[in-house]
Symmetry: C2
């Protein structure tokens, strides 16, 4: 985190004016809050790892426990658990415990829709 407050760039050396000042103002007016855009990027960051995408895709089909997911992805239970924590934090998956076993499933249908959109963009 933390890469704000740089400086002012692109101020014309003579006049102090930018190329399209009006356009900039009008676009700027319609930009969502810095924080919202930051959170949005954070959300997509979660989808931006193939291990996590595989986990989500696996959960499309069924509720699964950590060990099953690990075997399915050919990954270590530890690695899977670490990533499940990320997905949990982003409220993309939910879980329930049954004895020693913890079962994970998709939190809601947004995940399907978001991934579906991505697939559409890729497959055309």
């Amino acid at each position: 985190m933390g890469k704000r407050d740089e400086q002012d760039f692109r101020v014309d050396s003579e006049t102090g004016e930018s190329i399209h000042p009006d356009l900039i103002s009008s676009v700027n007016a319609d930009m969502p809050d810095e924080e919202l855009l930051y959170d949005l990027a954070e959300l997509y960051k979660v989808f931006g790892d193939s291990t996590r995408i595989k986990i989500l895709y696996a959960l499309f089909e069924a509720e699964l426990c950590v060990g099953d997911i690990a075997e399915l992805l050919n990954a270590s239970p530890s690695a899977v658990s670490h990533q499940l924590r990320v997905l949990k934090t982003s409220k993309l998956v939910k879980f329930r415990r049954e004895g020693k076993t913890v079962y994970y499933s998709l939190a809601d249908d947004h995940v399907r829709t978001i991934i579906g959109m991505g697939m559409e963009h890729l497959c055309e």
Copy 2:
């Protein structure tokens, strides 16, 4: 790139069986190709940076040149250009040259839809 071929985990020390073998097979059968899932993650990775999200959002409103975007985001033209290259590579933006100036715009409406989905997930 490159983190395949680890080992086999989770093979029961005695029997050599996993907890839910049938489930694993059936889920595995419906999983898309490794490569497709990888590309999907790569696509989302592009959305997973606040600078790039801001650029895309700015382009929702209008076609803009590099300098304008830089001023809008309070970032250096160089940083913006680097990120525009990433967006170009992912076919999310297109550009045209007019004299010294290069104008960028959204490649298609998928970008809007994908970002819209993310916003929906956040704002509920």
